[in-house]
Amino acid sequence: MSEILFIGLSLSSILLLIALGLSITYGAMGVINMAHGELVMIGAYTAVISGIYLNINLFLALPLAFLVSAAVGLALEKLVIRRLYGRIIDTLLATWGVAIVLQQLIRLEFGLSFFGIHIEGLGPGLQNMNVPSFLTQPFEIGGIPIQPYRSFIILVTVLLTLLTWFLMYRTSMGTQVRAIMRNPQIAAACGIDVKRVSAFTFAYGSGLAGIAGVLLAGFKTVMPDMGASTVVDGFLVVVVGGVGSLLGTVLASALLGQINGIFAILTNDILARAVVFGVVIAIILWRPRGLFAFKSR
């Protein structure tokens, strides 16, 4: 049983990294970013490609993927999202379009070998990241088998969640982000540069998605459409947890990740997903604003 919970916890962790970015950007900017999953995918490709060409290991790939995804996110914010402020449906469609473009660009460049365009070292769209061997050998503590890679995922997530909490609640930038979430007009009238802060926020959330991508790459196949389903899971977490609530996001991803993990092992993946959706629907019916929404919006 503890092993099942452990697997659920590692699923929750990746879910949390994906949802944190979505929660902050949706809360602060009211933007539904359908390309968030592609930022996860770009993080995963960053890990694979930097491993092949730069011979970088997992630990260096994490910050590198953060930077790459953050840069792509920043460009997306400046080129697309900033121009569609306050038009939530338009941003949804536009970012969905961006998601498709990013997917196809990656597929053209690194995907299935494409009429002779082939990058040496990359397989036919089924890449994987090399995980250092000490993270692949299970060990036992007190008779309980521990999977090191899953522990590593949980550790990275805990650290990044703490970092996010610190940035949001203990820095001037975080105060500005929270003020914008509550009331962007009053925030602007108090001298907060809403566009600049939002761009930073968006880049940070994108960077977290990139890190989630690297962690996923360690146990999943890296392919161009790997991110598309993660954005849906991320939004489930945001909706259940309550927009803009750090605590809500943490608890919702723990809940959904565990439900997914437990039912996947007891039955199968497909039934597990159905159960997750059922739980989400029930929670939304019960609390339409999510578990921890603040009152004012």
Binding site: Q185, A188, A189, G191, S296
Partner: protein, 230 residues
């Protein structure tokens, strides 16, 4: 001095201000009068750049500000005490006040005058803003605006919805802010006797434009009856 010349302002496609001309002399209180829904709040929001779009010129002490984004207008010395206070309920009183500090150039801090004006706030800095009464929230909104280190204060019906014994206190504070700190104040007000007591000049708004303006002693009962009676 703040002056608006031929200002039109829009929410989406609907025009809320038509050819508005307003001058607020430096260091004085300008009362903005008129019925509900004639564009008084829109006037304040336009000065801060919070409407969807506006045309015409707005200048503050000779600097043209109408092309600036809202936060730069705030940083150039305009602070806003909005209708309904708009304090952030889950921020502490301290954080609500300090929010204004993002508009000031120096380090963010609680303005010196705040403990003197609002001792209650100073004694409860760590409580959430949402637990305060209407009058206390109004005090908090004023303290937040002062943290912007403003030269011009835009106040939207500061005594609306506040218990009567606090109203007089708020009124006295507004007069003090003008007299002691030399703040220029645009005061949107329904209470004509208070406007007469506090302001040096007035502008009467109807249908999104200024229909009368002048020194406060030129405000006749006839004008009040014509433009404010329901």
């Amino acid at each position: 001095m703040l002056s608006l010349t031929h200002v039109d302002s829009f929410y989406g496609r609907s025009q809320a201000l038509h050819d508005m001309n307003v001058t607020a002399p430096k260091g004085e209180i300008l009362a903005v009068l008129g019925r509900n829904g004639v564009g008084k709040t829109t006037l304040l929001r336009t000065i801060l750049g919070l409407t969807d779009r506006s045309e015409g010129t707005i200048s503050l002490d000779g600097d043209e500000i109408s092309s600036m984004p809202t936060h730069d207008r705030a940083r150039s010395g305009i602070a806003y005490v909005p209708q309904g206070r708009m304090i952030i309920p889950d921020f502490t009183i301290r954080d609500n006040i300090l929010m204004g500090g993002f508009a000031s150039s120096g380090p963010r801090g609680i303005p010196e005058i705040v403990p003197d004006l609002f001792p209650y706030l100073m004694d409860n800095l760590d409580r959430p803003g949402g637990v305060l009464s209407g009058g206390q929230q109004q005090q908090l909104a004023i303290a937040r605006a002062l943290a912007c280190a403003p030269s011009l204060l835009l106040m939207d019906e500061p005594t609306e919805g506040i218990q009567p014994n606090i109203v007089e206190q708020i009124e006295d504070i507004i007069i003090r802010l003008n007299r002691d700190l030399g703040l220029t104040i645009l005061l949107v007000e329904q209470n004509v006797p208070f406007a007469r007591r506090a302001a040096s000049s007035f502008v009467m708004v109807e249908h999104g434009t200024a229909v009368e303006a002048g020194r406060i002693h030129a405000l006749t009962e006839d004008m009040v009856a014509r433009h404010m009676a329901i």
